[in-house]
């Protein structure tokens, strides 16, 4: 977003600068050239004035191209002046008769322009009695161009001669180039200022967005105490940050309420349940002989209810827990848990086997991961018929370490696979197996809190595989 915003701002800026700079450069070049042209026209006009043609009739002038006697000295003076002019300004100057023959020319080997060069064009126009209008613009990249200005010398309404100056455009072009460089430098400076301003502006606008983004990510990944620090930025974004904080507060409050409710409920139910169990005990004392089985069953129900309460409390605590993942050798952890479960599995006639690398380093909260593994193993052993086996596989790839517990129990249908791990969910076919239906929920909560995840897949031909995954490297929770 920052780059896009910067790009847009800078493109706009560049467009504005170009829209201003290009015409400015053009106008500058035109002004420079017209100053030169006006200058040359003035010069030419002065030469035209000095042309000694006064007092001669039009007819005589037309018939006889030579000036009358006495003018020779003035003609000579004109030539000298032209030579000096040429020497001084580097511009060629020539005064020509209508037929193109020179009256005074400097340098001496210069002829009236012919053909269809711009000079010839100007010459023809001057013969028609028109002054040269602005010749084509000279650009700095034009090579070796000259600027031709032709001026008609009019006597008694007739064009008797033409004064042509042809100046090299080198100095003009370098002057234009120089002006342009100044303009370019100005624009570059403006662009630098614009870039600085744009960077600051986007930073100012985007800083609250970035902090918001970070806080949202934190909250999404479970760090509920993340908040947006009040900082600069546009008022709208500041308001958004405030609203975000309020929202986060409310979410945390609601979650705490819910958690506290679960904890309180499981807590508060203990007293009535205790009273109930005591009454059952009392009732059992009054019962005649032979009802021990029923009494035992009622006691068992009470114990089951008590375990549900314990699990609920466990879930509330697991959700509240803020585990600190650390590097753990998950193979060692799995082996330790398997050793702990072996007697219990042995009692049910279930074999526990494992396979995996000697070391599998992963980032996990060892207690949370161990508890989750316990819940999964408990489940697997419970559903595996005697004589079968529960196999535990540790596999490590680049991203994560996966501990898969596969049983050979009845397994679950696809529909059931989607629901497993939901709170209190139990397969309708397994309602009579011990448990509250919270074990896997607690396992999932514990794993998620530690940055891992819990997934389920079927085993062929029947059974369920539960995979506990922990990241290989520290994840940014």
């Amino acid at each position: 977003m920052r780059n896009r915003l910067l790009g847009i701002l800078l493109t706009l800026m560049a467009c504005v600068l170009a829209a201003l700079g290009v015409p400015l450069g053009y106008l500058m070049a035109a002004a420079e050239q017209s100053a030169v042209v006006v200058d040359r026209i003035d010069d030419a006009a002065r030469f035209a004035q000095d042309l000694p043609t006064q007092g001669r009739s039009t007819a005589a002038m037309k018939g006889d191209a030579l000036p009358v006697q006495g003018d020779t000295s003035r003609l000579h003076a004109l030539s000298v002046e032209a030579a000096r002019y040429h020497e001084l300004y580097g511009a060629r100057i020539g005064v020509f008769h209508r037929d193109g023959s020179a009256i005074a020319v400097a340098p001496a080997d210069w002829h009236a322009p012919t053909g269809d060069s711009p000079g010839a064009e100007a010459f023809r126009e001057a013969l028609d009695g028109r002054r040269s209008h602005n010749p084509p613009q000279a650009w700095p990249w034009d090579e070796d161009r000259t600027l031709t200005v032709a001026l008609p010398v009019v006597r008694d309404g007739d064009v008797v001669a033409v004064v042509i100056t042809e100046s090299p455009t080198g100095p003009l072009r370098s002057r234009i180039l120089h002006r342009w460089l100044v303009i370019g430098a100005g624009e570059g400076l403006a662009m630098v200022v614009a870039v600085l301003l744009a960077v600051r502006l986007t930073g100012w606008v985007l800083r609250p967005v970035r902090t918001l983004d970070r806080a949202t990510h934190d909250i999404a990944t479970g760090r509920m105490n993340a908040r947006v620090a009040p900082s600069g930025g546009p008022p709208e974004l500041r308001r958004l940050a405030r609203s975000f904080n309020e929202m986060a507060d409310h979410v945390v409050f609601a979650m705490d309420q819910q958690r506290a409710f679960v904890a309180d409920a499981s807590h508060q139910l203990r007293n009535p349940l205790a009273a109930l169990m005591l009454r059952v005990e009392l009732l059992g004392l009054e019962l005649p002989e032979g009802h021990d089985a029923e009494l035992g069953a009622v006691r068992e129900e009470g114990t089951r209810l008590a375990r549900v309460l314990d699990d609920l409390l466990g879930l509330a605590t697991a959700e509240h827990a803020r585990p600190e993942p650390e590097p753990v050798d998950l193979t060692a952890l799995v082996l330790a848990r398997l050793d702990a479960w072996r007697p219990s599995a042995g009692q049910r006639g279930v074999d526990l086997v494992w396979d995996g690398p000697a070391r599998a380093q992963g980032w996990a909260d060892p207690i949370g991961f161990g508890s989750a593994l316990d819940a999964v193993l408990d489940n697997a052993i419970k559903f595996t018929p005697a004589g079968e086996r529960v196999s535990v596989t540790v596999a490590a790839d680049k991203q994560e370490v996966a501990v898969t517990v596969a049983d050979t129990g009845p397994g679950l249908t696809e529909e059931e696979l989607e629901r497993i791990g939901d709170r209190f969910w139990r397969s309708p076919r397994h309602q009579n197996v011990d448990g509250s239906g919270l074990g896997l929920s607690i396992a999932r909560t514990l794993l998620l809190a530690g940055g891992g995840e819990l997934s389920f897949s079927p085993v062929e031909p029947h059974g369920l595989a539960v995979t506990l995954a922990a990241p290989r490297r520290k994840t940014d929770l």
């Binding site: 508060q268 349940l273 169990m277 005591l278 005990e281 002989e289 605590t317």
Partner: protein, 240 residues
């Protein structure tokens, strides 16, 4: 055996008092910490052997009551509470509680724990006469000499088998209190499994015959057995 029950929930307390009464305990119910501390002041009656202390009390914190009990007397305290978290357990035990039971509990477990802390409570005062041969059965003419493992009735030696003696000695620990079958099996037969049907009944029968006092060991239906020290004083506080 006198017990002090500190519990603010009347329904739990009523049920517990009834059950404990059926087991031969004399139970006093205190509804608050204040009342409990008052009840523990010696008043000439038989001292309380065990205090069952609920932590959620209306007037003061159960932990505080526990430390005050501990400061004033050596009576064993079992915390009976709904707080299951490990920190409360540790805190309670650190404050001087002898045991910690979380509600809802199994009655058999609670009774076993009561007996356990009561036993430890008496073991802590070996100089007292609770375990001396002339102990609590003098009035019925039965004297149990634990060191020599001999029993005399009215001065006459009675030859008992090892299990019979252990059984009598166990019941004599707390006369009047009903020992549950599972507890008798645990302590006499050292087994958590309740034997092959009639083992206990057979031993009780032969014990009664050998002692010549059929009413001394009484069967409480559905619970277990108890020793009745004095025939007329039987219906005392126990049935409250």
């Amino acid at each position: 055996m006198r017990l002090l029950l500190v519990e603010d929930d009347d329904r739990v307390a009523a049920a517990l008092v009834a059950v404990l009464g059926r087991h031969g305990f004399q139970v006093r119910h205190a509804r608050s910490g204040h009342e409990a501390l008052d009840a523990l002041v010696p008043d000439g009656n038989e001292p309380y052997r065990v205090v069952l202390l609920d932590l959620g009390l209306p007037d003061r914190d159960g932990f505080e009551v526990c430390s005050r009990i501990r400061a004033g007397s050596g009576v064993p305290v079992i915390m009976v509470t709904a707080r299951a978290d490990i920190r409360s357990r540790i805190h309670g035990l650190n404050l001087g509680a002898d045991d910690y039971v979380v509600k809802p509990y199994d009655m058999g477990e609670l009774l076993a724990r009561i007996h356990a802390v009561a036993r430890r409570g008496t073991a802590g005062t070996p100089a007292e006469n609770t375990e001396t041969p002339t102990g609590p059965l003098e009035s019925r003419g039965v004297v149990i000499d634990r060191e020599r493992r001999r029993v005399t009735v009215e001065g006459r030696d009675v030859a008992l088998t090892r299990k019979e003696f252990d059984l009598l000695a166990l019941l004599a620990q707390s006369p009047g209190v009903v020992y549950r079958r599972e507890q008798i099996f645990s302590e006499v037969w050292r087994s958590g499994w309740e034997g092959n049907g009639r083992t206990l009944e057979v031993h009780i029968g032969s014990l009664r015959t050998k002692l010549g006092l059929p009413g001394l060991v009484e069967a409480v239906r559905g619970v277990g057995y108890r020793l009745i020290p004095d025939l007329p004083a039987d219906s005392g506080e126990a049935g409250r």
